[in-house]
């Protein structure tokens, strides 16, 4: 009886700790860094509208 109670306690505790870890563990974070030159922050002119469209992505 005592052994069964110990096994049950260990199972409940381990499952609860697993749930707590999943529930409170901080989400992974991703950081993206992009350098922006002064040329990319100039006032747009009609000639600058012909730039590469894939530059932004």
């Amino acid at each position: 009886m005592r052994k069964i109670r110990l096994v049950i306690a260990v199972i409940i505790l381990s499952a609860s700790i697993a749930l707590l870890v999943w529930g409170f563990f901080p989400n992974p974070r991703e950081t993206r860094i992009q350098n922006i030159s002064p040329k990319e922050m100039q006032i747009p002119t009609p000639s600058s509208l012909h730039s590469d469209p894939g530059r932004l992505l």
């Binding site: 005592r2 109670r5 110990l6 049950i8 306690a9 260990v10 409940i12 505790l13 499952a15 609860s16 700790i17 697993a18 749930l19 707590l20 999943w22 529930g23 409170f24 989400n27 992974p28 974070r29 991703e30 950081t31 993206r32 860094i33 992009q34 350098n35 922006i36 030159s37 002064p38 040329k39 990319e40 922050m41 100039q42 006032i43 747009p44 002119t45 000639s47 600058s48 012909h50 730039s51 590469d52 932004l56 992505l57």
Partner: protein
Amino acid sequence: MNRRSALLSAFIALCGLFLFACTIGSSESPAPTSAPVATEPPISQTPGPEEALRPAIPETRRLILEYPPRVRAGNESNLISLTLDVDNLGKITPTAHFPGNITEGGVIEIPNLYETHNVTAEAQFDIAGLEVKPGGVTFQPLRQGEAITFYWSLRAQEIGTYRGTIWLYLNFEDRSSGEKSRVAVSAQIVEIEAVDFFGFSTNFVRTSGVVGSVLGLIVGFPFFDDGVKYLWGRLARRKRKTGRPPRKM
């Protein structure tokens, strides 16, 4: 026989002529995708004198986007930040290029945009299926040497993979004429995955974890009690041993 061979040679010559005409026609007719590229003037990487003297922001900036690629579905809120920082290491080196590969170093006075214009940064986070606050467009004034940060709070009610775009624009308003212009600086695509715990919500999992821990401690209390008593007894015995004076040989 002669007539037959003459006909055969005429047929072969006609076929050859037809094939030749086809190849000429196909080489002369331009492909629809390559035609506009061929007619476009080549894009020059080096700015012209007018472009170089346009008012510009006299600093290199760094755009830092921080977001969670995976979030828990439920009522939990997550933070996304977009910082337009000043890059202290980035320096602008003015150079002047002349034909004949002669390069002359000199100071090019680029007009400071901050002195002539009001600069405002505009950011927007577009993502379908997720609750984002603040929604829509947010503005922040951009001043020389100062960093700005945009924050969004994100919440996912349903599990799934969501894709969105974070836009950053710069708005310029001429102080003298009031003329406004806008330039897109960055459009970053983000992918966020909302997950749950085998179909259970985050709140349910957290509550179950707390309740289960308490229950587990109650069920296992006699054993913990025994364990604590055993450890306490060993500690007390060791203390007693160290407290005794050493035996004389």
